[in-house]
C-alpha cells in the first residue's frame, strides 16, 4: 500500500467515526483525537477498522504512535511494508 | 242506512259482517292495552272507527284476488280472514307470527291468503299493485288486485305514477283511499288543493266514486259495483271511502291537531252500533245473539294473547336466513 492509499483510507475511516468533521484538514503533528473530538470508544472503533482495512495488527503498546497524522501514516507504511 | 234496502243481505251474512267489525274493534283495543304494558313495541297504528271500510271492501273480493295494505292494516288482515293468533304473535315479535315475528304490526304477510302486506312507506305499495295486476292480465288470470291507502298517500308521486300506469295499461286494480281526514297530524285542507280526492282519479280517466266510509252497507254496495266493473272491463277503479279514526294516529300522539268535540261528533257515526241497530230493526239478529257474538270475540282475543304469550323467539343464528332465497328456480 503506498502512502497516498493509506492516507485516503485513514481519512475515510476517520470520517466514519466523526462524520461532521473534515479529517483532510488535520495538521501533520496535530493530536487527532483532540482535533476531531474522538472519545476512547470511537478511538478503539477507528483502530479496529484500520486493522481490518489494512490487514495489520496494532497492539495497545503502539497506540502512542497513532496520536498524530505524521506518526500514524509513517507507522502504517512501515507496518504494511513488512 | 244505505239508500235502498240491501235485499242480498241475509241474516247469516249480516251477523258475520257484524262479528268481523266487532272482532277488529276489540282486537285493536286489546292491542292498545298490550302496548301500554310494553308487550307490543315499536309503532302501532289502530283501525278503530274505520272497520266498515275494511269489512265492506274485503267481502267483495274472492280468494284469488290480491290485497295490499299499509301499516294501519290489522282491520284488512282480520277481514281477509287472517287468524288473530298469528297477528297478535307477530306484534309480540314471536316466530309463530305470520311473518315469523320479523315484521311486527306494520308488516303482516300471508301468501296463502294473497295478503301482500303491510307496507310502511306511504304510497310505496301502489306501484306494486299495478305490477301485480299487470302480471294477472299477462297471465290471463281473472283475479284483481286491491290496494288500500290513506289520503296522505294521494299526495305522493307514486300515487300519480301508479294511477296513470294502471289507466294506461288498463290493468285490474281497485285503488281504495281511506280518507280519514288526517295524514298523521295534518288535516286534509292543509295537504290537498283538491279535497274531493275522487276527482284525481277522473283526471287519469279512471272510474272514481266517493262513499260514506262509516256506513257498511254503502261501502259494500260501492265495493261490489267497483269489483264488478273491474272484472268486466279489466280497467282500474278508484274508490274513496270517507271515514274517521277514533284513536290517535299511533300510540304516541297527543292529538294536538284536532278537537275532542270533532272526535265525539264522528263517534256518533260509529259504524258498529249503526249496523247493529239496522240488523236488529230488520230482525236479522237478536240482542242475545249480539251478546253471544261479543263473548265469542272476547274468547278469540284472549286466545290470541295467550298464543302470543306462549310464542317463542326466533334464534338469533337465523338472522341471515331469507336474505336470499333458499329455493332454486322452480
Amino acid at each position: 500500500m503506498n502512502e497516498e492509499e493509506i492516507k485516503k483510507t485513514v481519512f475515510q475511516l476517520l470520517k466514519n467515526i466523526a462524520p461532521e468533521t473534515d479529517p483532510s484538514l488535520l495538521m501533520p503533528e496535530e493530536n487527532i483525537r483532540e482535533a476531531l473530538n474522538i472519545d476512547s470508544f470511537d478511538a478503539l472503533q477507528f483502530i479496529v477498522s484500520l486493522c481490518e482495512k489494512l490487514k495489520v495488527d496494532i497492539p495497545e503498546e503502539d497506540y502512542g504512535k497513532t496520536s498524530n497524522l505524521k506518526s500514524l501514516i509513517g507507522y502504517l507504511i512501515q507496518k504494511t511494508k513488512g | 242506512m244505505g239508500t235502498k234496502a240491501n235485499s242480498s243481505l241475509d241474516a247469516n251474512l249480516g251477523q258475520n259482517l257484524l262479528k268481523q267489525m266487532i272482532l277488529i274493534r276489540r282486537f285493536e283495543e286489546r292491542a292498545a292495552e298490550e302496548y301500554t304494558k310494553s308487550k307490543i313495541r315499536g309503532f302501532l297504528h289502530l283501525y278503530v272507527g274505520e272497520e266498515a271500510v275494511a269489512v265492506g271492501v274485503v267481502q267483495a273480493l274472492n280468494q284469488e284476488d290480491y290485497l295490499l295494505s299499509t301499516y294501519r292494516e290489522h282491520g284488512h288482515a282480520l277481514a281477509r280472514g287472517m287468524n288473530p293468533n298469528v297477528i297478535m304473535a307477530e306484534m309480540y315479535g314471536k316466530q309463530e307470527g305470520c311473518s315469523k315475528g320479523r315484521g311486527g304490526s306494520m308488516h303482516l304477510f300471508d301468501s296463502s291468503l294473497n295478503f301482500f302486506g303491510g307496507n310502511a312507506i306511504v304510497g310505496g305499495h301502489l306501484p306494486l299493485a299495478v305490477g301485480m295486476a299487470l302480471a294477472s292480465k299477462k297471465q290471463n288470470k281473472k283475479n284483481i288486485t286491491s290496494c288500500f291507502f290513506g289520503e296522505g298517500a294521494a299526495a305522493e308521486g307514486e300515487f300519480h305514477e301508479s294511477l296513470n300506469l294502471a289507466a294506461l295499461w288498463e290493468v285490474p286494480v281497485l285503488f281504495v283511499c281511506e280518507n280519514n281526514r288526517y295524514a298523521m297530524g295534518t288535516a286534509l285542507k292543509y295537504t290537498h288543493s283538491m279535497e274531493d280526492l275522487e276527482k284525481k282519479g277522473e283526471a287519469y280517466g279512471i272510474r272514481s266514486v266517493a262513499v260514506d266510509g262509516m256506513d257498511l252497507l254503502a261501502v259494500m254496495q260501492a265495493a261490489a259495483e267497483a269489483v264488478e266493473f273491474i272484472r268486466e272491463t279489466g280497467k282500474p277503479f278508484f274508490l274513496v271511502c270517507k271515514t274517521y279514526r277514533f284513536r290517535a294516529h299511533s300510540m304516541f300522539d297527543a292529538e294536538l291537531y284536532r278537537e275532542k268535540s270533532e272526535v265525539e261528533e264522528w263517534k256518533k257515526k260509529d259504524p258498529i252500533p249503526k249496523f247493529k241497530e239496522y240488523l236488529l230493526k230488520e230482525n236479522l239478529i237478536s240482542q242475545a245473539l249480539v251478546d253471544e257474538l261479543e263473548r265469542d270475540v272476547e274468547q278469540e282475543i284472549e286466545n290470541s294473547v295467550a298464543f302470543a304469550e306462549n310464542g317463542t323467539w326466533e334464534e338469533a343464528s337465523n338472522l341471515t336466513r331469507f336474505v336470499y332465497s333458499e329455493l332454486k328456480q322452480p
Binding site: F41, V48 | S38, A316
Partner: protein, 402 residues
C-alpha cells in the same frame, strides 16, 4: 287487587308526568274510562284503564314524573287482596352476540416456507439483523409480532456474540450527519425535562472516592493480548461490571423511589452516551451483573453506534435501574451526575490519570480514577453510599474476578 302502571305510549317514551287524576279513590272504573292525564314530550295524553273495579289507592301525586311501568294506583277488582300484575310479563330474549357468519377457517397460504410476520416486526428484525427463521411467532395465526423480535434481540444481547459488521459503521455516519435538527432539539428537551425533575424532586447527597486502577489496567492489557482487535475491551467495560457487582452487594441502590423504595431484582445499568451533535442518550445494559466483561463490551459496541445513529428504540431507553456517566479523557477530573428519576443513584467516573498515590506508607505514581456517587437521600443514607463505593473499589482491585 290490580296494579295500574304508567303506560308505555311510544317507542321512545321513557317516563311521564302525572298531571291530573280524573278518578278518585272509591270511584267505579269501567274498561276504557279515562283515569288520568299524563304529560309527555309529545303533549298531554288521556290515559284509559283496561280493568274494571273500584279505584282503591292513588300512589303517585299530581305533578310527579315517573318512569314507564311504575305503579300509579291500585284497583280493587273484587278478586282478593293479593296484588297482581294485570297480566303475565315475558321479557325480550337476551340476544347472544351475533358473530360473523362462520367463515371457513383462514385458508393456509399456498407457499409453505412463507414466514408470517407483521410489517412492524419485519422492520425491527431487519434493522437488528435478526434471523427470522429461528423465531416462533406468538401473534395471530402464529405470526411473528414486535414482542417476539424484541425478545430475540434482548436474548441475543444476553447470550450470543454479535459480529459487528464492517459496513455497519459506514452506514451509521451518513445517518447521523443529516439527522434533522428537530431530533437533537427533542433530545435536548428530553434531557432538560429529566434533569429539572431530578433537581426539583430528588434530595441528592454526594460521595467521592479515588480508586487505584493499576491492577485493572494491567489485567486488561494482558488479556487484550489474547484477543483479536475486534474483541479488545476498554476500561469502561470493567468499570460497568464492577458497579454491577457492587450493586449486587448493596441492593438498596439498585431501586426506584415511587412512594417508597422499590428494589429491582434485575440490574440494568444505564450508560450515558454523548452524541456528537450534542445531547445524551442512556441505553440500558440489561442484567449487567450476569454478563462477562467481554459481553458488556459487545453490548457497548452495539448500543453506542446505534445511539449515535439515533437508532435506539424507546424500550432500550427505559429499563435501566441505575446509571453510570463517564467523563473520559482530556477534560474535567471528576463528574457528579444528576440522578435519572425514578432511579435512586448515579455513579460518575472521572478521567483515568497518573496521580501521586500513597499506599502502605509508600508514595508512588499510579493510574487512578476519581469515582463519585450521587444518591437519593429519601432512599438511602451516606453509610450505604460509602459501603457501595468501598465494594466498587474492592472489585476493581480484583479485576480477574470481574
Amino acid at each position: 287487587m290490580i296494579k295500574f302502571l304508567m303506560p308505555n305510549l311510544g317507542a321512545d317514551m321513557e317516563d311521564g308526568v302525572l298531571v291530573e287524576w280524573r278518578k278518585q279513590p272509591g270511584d267505579f272504573l269501567q274498561k276504557g274510562d279515562i283515569i288520568a292525564d299524563i304529560d309527555t314530550q309529545k303533549g298531554l295524553i288521556e290515559i284509559e284503564v283496561f280493568d274494571e273495579g273500584v279505584l282503591e289507592k292513588i300512589l303517585v301525586k299530581e305533578g310527579q314524573k315517573v318512569p314507564v311501568g311504575s305503579v300509579l294506583a291500585l284497583i280493587n277488582d273484587g278478586k282478593g287482596e293479593e296484588i297482581r300484575e294485570s297480566s303475565g310479563d315475558n321479557p325480550t330474549p337476551e340476544v347472544p352476540k351475533i358473530l360473523e357468519p362462520q367463515e371457513q377457517a383462514k385458508t393456509k397460504s399456498t407457499e409453505e416456507h412463507r414466514i408470517k410476520i407483521s410489517p412492524l416486526a419485519r422492520k425491527i428484525a431487519e434493522s437488528n439483523g435478526i434471523d427470522l427463521t429461528l423465531l416462533k411467532g406468538t401473534g395471530p395465526e402464529g405470526s411473528i409480532v414486535k414482542e417476539d423480535v424484541e425478545k430475540a434481540i434482548s436474548e441475543r444481547i444476553a447470550n450470543k456474540p454479535v459480529p459487528q459488521p464492517e459496513e455497519k459503521t459506514k452506514e451509521a455516519p451518513e445517518e447521523s450527519v443529516n439527522v434533522s435538527r428537530t431530533t437533537s432539539d427533542s433530545i435536548r428537551m428530553a434531557v432538560a425535562a429529566a434533569m429539572s425533575k431530578s433537581n426539583r424532586e430528588i434530595p441528592h447527597y454526594f460521595l467521592e472516592k479515588r480508586m487505584d486502577m493499576s491492577k485493572a489496567l494491567e489485567w486488561m492489557k494482558e488479556s487484550n493480548k489474547t484477543r483479536p482487535v475486534q474483541k479488545r475491551i476498554l476500561p469502561v467495560a470493567m468499570l460497568i461490571k464492577a458497579v454491577a457487582k457492587a450493586l449486587d452487594e448493596v441492593p438498596d441502590l439498585n431501586a426506584t423511589w415511587e412512594n417508597g423504595l422499590q428494589r429491582k431484582n434485575e440490574i440494568n445499568i444505564g450508560f450515558v452516551v454523548s452524541l456528537r451533535s450534542g445531547g445524551i442518550m442512556v441505553p440500558a445494559i440489561l442484567q449487567a451483573d450476569s454478563k462477562t466483561v467481554e459481553e458488556i463490551m459487545e453490548t457497548l459496541n452495539d448500543l453506542i453506534p446505534r445511539a449515535r445513529a439515533f437508532k435506539l428504540r424507546s424500550s432500550e431507553l427505559s429499563q435501566s435501574t441505575f446509571t453510570i456517566t463517564s467523563i473520559g479523557e482530556g477534560g474535567a477530573d471528576k463528574v457528579f451526575g444528576l440522578i435519572y428519576p425514578p432511579q435512586v443513584g448515579i455513579v460518575g467516573f472521572g478521567e483515568i490519570s497518573e496521580q501521586p498515590f500513597a499506599e502502605e506508607g509508600m508514595l508512588g505514581i499510579r493510574p487512578v480514577v476519581d469515582v463519585t456517587l450521587s444518591a437519593d437521600h429519601r432512599a438511602t443514607d451516606g453509610l450505604i453510599g460509602s459501603r457501595f463505593l468501598a465494594a466498587l473499589n474492592k472489585h476493581l482491585q480484583n479485576p480477574e474476578s470481574l
